[in-house]
Amino acid sequence: MPSNEAEEVLEILWIKTEEEGLSAVRKEDLLSADYDLESALDELAEEGSVEVKGGNVRLTEKGKGEARDIIRRHRLAERLLVDVLEMAEERVEEAACRFEHALPRGVDESVCTLLGHPRLCPDGNPIPPGRCCEEGREKIERLISPLTELEVGCEGRIAYITSRRHERLQRLMAMGIVPGLPVRLLQTFPSYVIEVEETQIALDAEIADEIYVRCERH
């Protein structure tokens, strides 16, 4: 197990290479007040997680796997804090950082399942899927999933709504579409139509994708 500091470095390397598309990262770009870069890199190089050549740092295959895991735990932790514990957004980042290092392997799968195998963290960054996610897809009807992944006729309650657009969240809320509300999916084309109470509401796919429902009945 890498140290917490080494994990922080792995995280940054993953974001820069896998998500921002750099092939290698210069050492200067990894500098931070939070850790001692040299010792963290030494540790990682020793374990074969990174290669340091000249001023450039590169993730090895082993390192990639580790980094992916950490990112996954970090973002799952964020989701957990925001969706279940309703923590204020400003405080999430700090707490998630502590969480990710503490979350043992295996537990991340339980958390992931609890949350319905979310695909994005609250900031909209992708959560790398775990093994549970693949399996989860098959028995999805029992879990929380966005409207776009439900079958027509599915009935359930809104678990949460994740929208980056404040306006949209407000609009839905004002119409009474809030967590806890019973809904039924009526159709998916040409627009999504849901039934809440005795009202039918049509939505864009884009919005339907952000409404997560705990499906209870078909």
């Binding site: 949209r168 809030v178 109470e197 039918q200 049509a202 939505l203």
Partner: protein, 660 residues
């Protein structure tokens, strides 16, 4: 605006109180408004907004009240301009009674707003409408229990059948003797303490509860805070609100809504009973069919076709023939001409009234004999579709295609209206949520949506030539909607709005209701559009008298003859097209009948006239709705673009020697 509470002067009637009807869209506010006030209402824009508001007078228990039909509102923490207007009415006009109208079958979605309204401190009456539809769906409501739980008067109604309206009137009139003890909503402890803190800072609310203002303040509602009378504490209040926002992940608005939601669920547990309703009623089944892809699109076509038969063939054909040729052509105009010529000795004045570009012979004849029959049939058909609940379903079918051109499905409505009258359609672009969408819709209406009058004439011409011509002409024009719409959505800044539309159930329209609406819209047309026609005629008259028409014709010759390959007489038709779209088409019609145009020239001239600058009434409305600058851009784009497309079409058809 009017003074606070109580008396105000309205249409010469001294009113002794003010009542605001409040509620989300489509719950029956307008029907109740008309039931209370009779037919006489004044519709006007709320100052500084594009939101329309009806005000009327009702006599209840011997007192005259001003009744306000507020725009659709889900919450007093405003998100839309509509909601802002409703909030302003409450904050500034402080009505004596707030009548909250809800849809009985959806009461649990709407009761949270009742709780918000109670928070204002103004007296609230709850009207549970649409009890018929609730009953049909097996929903039984114990309104007495609801009244006890809320501590405010609760009245059940079926507005369309007048049921419960008298009770509502009584309950307003006898409000003073009601044991009014409204329920209180309490928020989580930390918010309660913040509310107390802010309330200390507030000046006395004069009629409104300070708690309500404090709620708005904590929700960061700047306008509500700015509206406060006293200055120094405002900054302190906003600062506290800012702190609250940082403390909670969710906005105050969200917390208020969730709290209200929980509270209303507790209340409704003792009020709502569900039996198995009569499911699968014919109208529900029909409603389903209209939005399923397999059946929805064919139904859409049928609706269009029927509407076209009614408006295009019956209205624009039969009725116009009668009004224009028989009534005006044979009787009215000759009679008026004789009268004018024998009684008015000045030739110039005679011509102004009954000459070639006379206010009566052209202005009135055109607006009353040609346009009025078309728009009234259109208004009627539109009213039926509106009351049947078909329109929201139409937006579902159209949403995907419209998304591609930067518009949401809602824009389908103005576009279809445009097929009736572009001018009126431009007015209805107000229903669109973002500025970007309103501009794109206005542009497309002005450019590529032919109005029914023009469509009628053009179909008349093309039908006599060939189907190929029909396909080329309309194909080219409708293609522009997608090309220009797509480009405009890339160029015009701003976001396109979300598509979230409530779909009411399909209902059988009440004929009387549709007729009243048609009548009111015709009245609107007569007062708003007819003066524009007269003004346009006057402009043409002046141009003609100053011999400027001929001058313009000469100047346009290089373009018309050179680029478009048309005879120079076509210029006059284009100029007329600016006055009235169909008039331009009619000019082309006449030329083609005289054998002055070959099929290619016909295609080119029809495409240009359809794309060409909107008619003068439409232009005025564009200026009024979108402002001078945007209007200028729109015209500056359309004018050369229409010529450009015409020139390209001319070139292509000739280069490939297409036979039409």
């Amino acid at each position: 605006m009017h003074g606070h509470g109580g008396g105000s002067q309205k249409d010469g009637v001294k009113t002794e109180g003010k009542i605001a009807l409040i509620g989300s869209p489509n719950v029956g506010k307008s029907v109740i408004f008309h039931r209370l006030t009779g037919r006489y209402a004044t519709v006007s824009n709320y100052p500084g907004t594009t939101v329309e508001l009806s005000r009327g007078v009702a006599s209840l228990g011997g007192k005259d009240y001003e009744i306000i039909d507020t725009p659709g509102t889900y919450s007093l923490f405003p998100l839309s301009e509509d909601e802002r207007v409703t909030q302003r009415i409450i904050l500034k006009e402080r009505p004596d009674v707030l009548v909250h109208v809800v849809d009985g079958k959806n009461i649990s979605l709407m009761l949270p707003l009742t709780l918000e309204l109670i928070e204002t401190g103004l007296p609230v009456i709850l009207v549970v409408n649409m009890l018929d539809e609730a009953g049909e769906r097996g929903i039984e409501l114990d309104l007495a229990a609801l009244q006890r739980a809320l501590g405010i008067p609760v009245v059940g109604t079926i507005a369309t059948e007048r049921k419960g309206i008298d009770e509502l009137k009584k309950s307003i009139a006898h409000l003073a003797s009601f044991d009014y003890r409204p329920i209180r909503t309490s928020y989580p402890p930390r918010i309660e303490s913040a509310l107390k803190e802010v309330m200390e800072l507030l000046p006395d609310g004069s009629g409104l509860s300070r708690r309500f203002i404090a709620l708005l303040a904590l929700a960061g509602d700047r306008e509500a805070v700015e509206a406060l009378e006293k200055g120094p504490s405002k900054e302190a209040i906003l600062k506290r609100a800012e702190e609250m926002r940082r403390e909670y992940r969710h906005s105050m608005r969200y917390i208020a809504k969730m709290t209200g939601k929980k509270r209303s669920q507790e209340i409704l547990r003792r009020v709502v009973r569900r039996r198995e309703g009569r499911k699968n009623r014919v109208t529900d089944r029909l409603g389903e069919l209209t939005v399923r892809p397999l059946t929805g699109f064919p139904i859409l076509l049928v609706v269009f076709y029927v509407m076209y038969r009614f408006v295009g063939v019956f209205g624009a054909g039969t009725l116009v023939d009668f009004f224009e040729q028989v009534l005006f052509g044979r009787y009215l105009n000759p009679a008026v001409s004789r009268l004018v010529e024998s009684h008015i000795p000045f030739p110039l004045l005679q011509e102004l009234l009954v000459g070639e570009y006379g206010l009566i012979t052209m202005g009135l004849t055109y607006s009353i004999a040609i346009v009025l029959p078309i728009v009234s049939t259109f208004f009627f058909a539109f009213g039926i579709l509106e009351d049947s609940g078909y329109f929201p379903r139409l937006t579902i079918m159209a949403n995907r295609a419209f998304k591609k051109i930067g518009l949401s499905g809602k824009s389908a409505l103005p576009m279809i209206l445009g097929l009736g009258c572009d001018t009126m359609a431009t007015l209805t672009t107000r229903i669109l949520d973002s500025r970007k969408e309103r501009i794109i819709a206005t542009l497309l209406l002005a450019l590529a949506v032919p109005c029914s009058a023009q469509l009628g004439v053009i179909l008349g011409i093309v039908a006599g030539v060939s189907t190929r011509l029909l396909i080329v002409v309309f194909g080219v024009v409708f293609l522009q909607i997608f090309i220009v719409g797509y480009l405009a959505s890339k160029v015009i800044p701003g976001e396109s709005s979300d598509f979230i539309v409530e779909i009411p159930p399909i209902r059988i329209p009440h004929l009387s209701n549709v007729l009243v609406k048609t009548y009111m819209r015709m009245e609107w047309f007569l007062f708003e559009a007819v003066p524009l026609f007269l003004l346009g005629t006057l402009i043409l008259f002046v141009l003609d008298k100053l011999s400027m028409l001929a001058l313009v014709e000469g100047m346009a010759q290089p373009v018309v003859v050179g680029l478009l390959g048309l005879p120079k007489e076509a210029t006059a038709a284009f100029i007329m097209g600016f006055l009235r779209r169909d008039y331009g088409a009619a000019g082309i019609f006449a030329m083609s009948r005289q054998g002055l145009l070959d099929p290619i020239q016909l295609a080119v001239s029809l495409v240009v006239i359809m794309l060409f600058v909107p008619c003068i009434a439409n232009l005025f409305v564009i200026i009024k709705e979108r402002g001078k600058k945007t209007a200028l851009y729109i015209v500056a784009f359309i004018f050369p673009y229409a010529i450009f497309i015409g020139a390209v079409l001319n070139y292509l058809l000739r280069a490939f020697e297409v036979s039409l």
